[in-house]
Symmetry: C2
Subunit: 152 residues, 2 copies
């Protein structure tokens, strides 16, 4: 499917995978720490980590020779998932039915508790679904129906 959302889902479209990436951003790098935090089986965690390494999202970095041990760090490609994670967190903060939001974000330069706002890279104004139109690019395929923004 020639769709960039689908391409992203190919990599992160699995529950545990995105939570592993979340923990990687929080500095959790080692297998046992991840396993303890996520509470999943070692087998499944190992599969997901291997998949993320194969996909170029994480890389293995040795931290011990005897015994041989590696930790998992985000690559540039992995760090570029930050905006996806932030958008998910903010949606969950706003719409999660049960718990109070556990984490808030403080940009270091700013020092205030803030939210991330999506803005236009050209004019700098905030943008939302009713502010934008979608237009075809060179990779466009006729079967990918394109219509303007949201139609609530």
């Amino acid at each position: 499917m020639n769709c960039s959302v689908a391409q992203c889902l190919e990599v992160v479209g699995e529950w545990w995978t995105m939570l592993i990436i979340r923990d990687a951003f929080l500095g959790i790098r080692r297998f046992d720490d991840l396993q303890q935090r996520l509470g999943i089986s070692r087998n499944i965690l190992q599969q997901r980590l291997t998949r993320l390494v194969d996909a170029g999202i994480l890389r293995r970095v040795p931290y011990s020779e005897h015994p041989p041990r590696s930790e998992y760090r985000l690559t540039v490609k992995g760090k570029d998932l930050w905006a996806v994670l932030v958008a998910m967190r903010q949606w969950g903060d706003q719409h999660a039915p049960t718990a109070a939001p556990p984490v808030q974000m403080v940009p270091k330069d700013c020092g205030s508790i803030s939210e991330a706002v999506m803005t236009c890279s050209v004019c700098g104004k905030p943008i939302g679904p009713s502010d934008v139109e979608s237009v075809p690019r060179p990779g466009y395929q006729g079967s990918d129906l394109l219509l303007p923004g949201a139609h609530p």
Copy 2:
């Protein structure tokens, strides 16, 4: 799990679900159109749509009485997923290994082809993973280890 990312994944953490939401933003509202575009079985599509209605992401709106037919429209809660979708699309545009990106975004007020940039809601500066720290909120649980930003 008291994590807003996990809360979001509870709803959208399934491949087809996010593509249904993508299509809803593109104005694809009817069962047969969705089924044709996504190429999934009617059974699975119906399950996913019912789940999205139950989760308050889509709502059914009748468009025909004879025969009785409804279309699916995004609720406010559903429209708030726009930032997640845009972040996924931009990541896919940048890192998808195969296809050329099919769609580009033009904010109506701006008129230029642009990207969405995450900025701080307080100071307005662009923010990325190395610019922010995470701090606990009232809903914080001791088991949710909190560490500053990314540790590449």
